[in-house]
Symmetry: C2
Subunit: 357 residues, 2 copies
DNA sequence: ACCTTCCAGGTAAGCGCTTTCCAGTACGGT
DNA sequence: ACCGTACTGGAAAGCGCTTACCTGGAAGGT
């Protein structure tokens, strides 16, 4: 591997000159030398050692992103937004998958810290686990004190700037839509119990139930893995325990797709006999049958905003992190309808989209 | 930011000792010192500077991955496989999205080279662009000469080990299945013209046509973006130009899903009036309606094998890169059937999966 | 003709770590 | 009591780059 010194020797100049030319520093360099050096760089196919560069200069360039799993459409979309902004700023993005393992998440924060990344974006639900949360928070603060920038997505409990999706409100919108259609008992497929996203969204569902004079009992609630197969299994369980259900709310679209698959297997018509509503509005939701009613989260935009926060100068008041909210929006498509024998006939507001100020 | 030296000072030892303890080097260190150092590390919340570490020691740790777009399910699956193996080896993965821009791809190779990654995995179609290909190849070779390992996915034309999906054969399988069902003129939605994946798969389709005594004319062929909306637009064009079409082969599943959407919009029954077959078997394919017939590529496995190659010692004979093939496999689901007025009645082999040795 | 100013280019001191080599001590053998 | 050995810990030389500071000489002023 050719080094700076090799290039310098070959061009018959000092390493300082080569460095200046390569980084086209403001310091002027004669045209003849510049040419000689550039020629030497080309001949030797010199590629500067980024580790050495980072060590020598103060400023950081790459940014780290920790998500649960990039191959999950939810994070894929967010990541797309993150990437876009990072690329605009000429930043390399390092993506880390925690696979929802808090320990791995902690390890990755250390890793990104160690790699002197300019910022860490932490996306994905927090955990109901006080010790872990505290440890994570401590690491994040330490990283910030060392000059790193932190932006979190959907985690109120941490240091750093945040963009938080309206999970509670979204949960409300989903359940409210179902009740308004005339459903009286709805089954809920929740995500893993220890995730804050689950409880946030669930809280909204509960509030809607109360508002409509209902109560969400344990029998109508199942916790499942936040993916398609989790939703499929959960729907099966719900149906077995409660054959008269007329609507299912899944707390994300992947699970809703699983529920749809279960219903299809059993020959239960959607939305004729059973309504299904999801959450997130991932891209594929329009292409399943029937197209999935859901609560849209502006996933790409969330990514864009989080990365923008992370790359912008920290707020003057460092102890007052910036918090931005991402609006949840009801999107009614084909998977929801009034219940089969709806006595109360509320006019279904099909296709209408309500936005919350 | 605390440094090694800070820790050493605080513990009253030399930096060498701290370094040994932190990396638990084979060199024995007294228990009392070890405790003092560990205490100092904790108090100072010391996080070693990874750049300095990499500079000081020879060996490389992270591996780089260049894909077109992680949020595309095709790459998401491959990436999942790559990640799994990398994680098993304790390697950090740096994911880079080229968004199918050759220049960006070149830039990323330099970047990963500069960052001294242990290996580069290049996934995704090559380009029909000789100068770009040559430049890329040169960079890759240079990187290899510097001790880096290279593994490519689906690019025969490059240095380094490779795992190549049977694109040509897969194209054959898809078209062959359609012809066997009795279709005589099939429309083909291809990906972008300048991608080798497109031409490879298309070659298979053409071969199947020939074998069945047909010819693929330009009228039945459309080039489109390799995504859902590309497929949707392409299907619309095909249908307009050729209303009597009874089957469409899309060269990836995303486009097939788009075609399905187009057909649904127009009220054309699938598979009653029109068969659709995709390519890749991405996870969502079972959940669209009707479930998509397709050609399966073992995406996760491809990722696993590519990363395994990249992490394994180079072959003894360095100039003879290892090449592994990934078998394409026909998967018939609900989106294919005989044409409406099939005169030649070949028994459809619904649900059957044929594997190629 | 001399001194100042300015500029291109070089010298060398790090950046934070690893690791080789060396020093000092304690021990055992004779 | 002396020497050899073993073993723990430290000193210091880099790893490949950046950059503050310095130098020599040309240009300009009086």
């Amino acid at each position: 591997m050719a080094t700076l010194a090799d290039v310098a020797r070959r061009a018959g100049v000092s390493t300082a000159t080569v460095s200046r030319i390569i980084n086209n520093s403001p310091k002027p360099v004669g045209e003849d030398l510049r040419e000689r050096v550039l020629a030497a760089v080309a001949e030797l196919q010199f590629v500067p050692n980024a580790n050495a560069q980072h060590l020598a200069r103060a400023h950081r360039s790459a940014v780290g992103v920790i998500v649960h799993d990039v191959s999950d459409p939810y994070f894929a979309e967010i990541t797309r937004g993150l990437q876009r902004v990072a690329t605009e700023h000429g930043r390399l993005v390092i993506i880390c998958n925690s696979y929802r393992d808090p320990e791995r998440e902690l390890a990755y924060v250390d890793l990104l810290h160690a790699h002197q990344t300019a910022a860490i974006v932490l996306a994905g639900s927090g955990y109901h686990d006080a010790p872990v949360t505290a440890r994570l928070d401590r690491k994040l603060r330490l990283y910030e004190r060392g000059g790193g920038r932190v932006a979190v997505i959907g985690r109120h409990q941490h240091a750093g700037d945040a963009v938080v999706p309206e999970n509670e409100h979204g949960g409300y919108l989903a359940a409210d839509a179902l009740y308004r259609l005339g459903h009286t008992t709805i089954g809920v497929i929740a995500g893993p119990r220890h995730l804050t996203t689950t409880t946030d969204r669930l809280a909204g569902v509960r509030r809607a139930a109360r508002d409509h004079g209902h109560r969400l009992t344990a029998r109508h609630l199942t916790y499942a893995d936040f993916d398609r197969n989790g939703g499929l299994a959960a729907a099966a369980g719900l149906l077995d325990r409660h054959p008269r259900l007329t609507a299912i709310a899944a707390l994300n679209d992947s699970m809703a797709v699983g529920a749809l698959a279960c219903l299809r297997e059993r020959g239960i018509d959607v939305p004729g006999r059973m309504s299904v509503i999801g959450f997130d509005d991932m891209p594929i939701s329009v292409d399943v049958t029937p197209p999935l009613s859901t609560v849209r989260l502006p996933l790409v935009e969330i990514g864009v905003r989080a990365m923008s926060l992370a790359l912008r100068e920290p707020a003057g008041d460092a102890d007052q992190p910036r918090v931005e909210h991402a609006a949840a929006q009801l999107v009614l498509r084909g998977s929801t309808a009034p219940p089969p024998a709806a006595t109360r006939s509320h006019r279904p507001s099909t296709g209408r989209i309500r936005r919350r100020g």
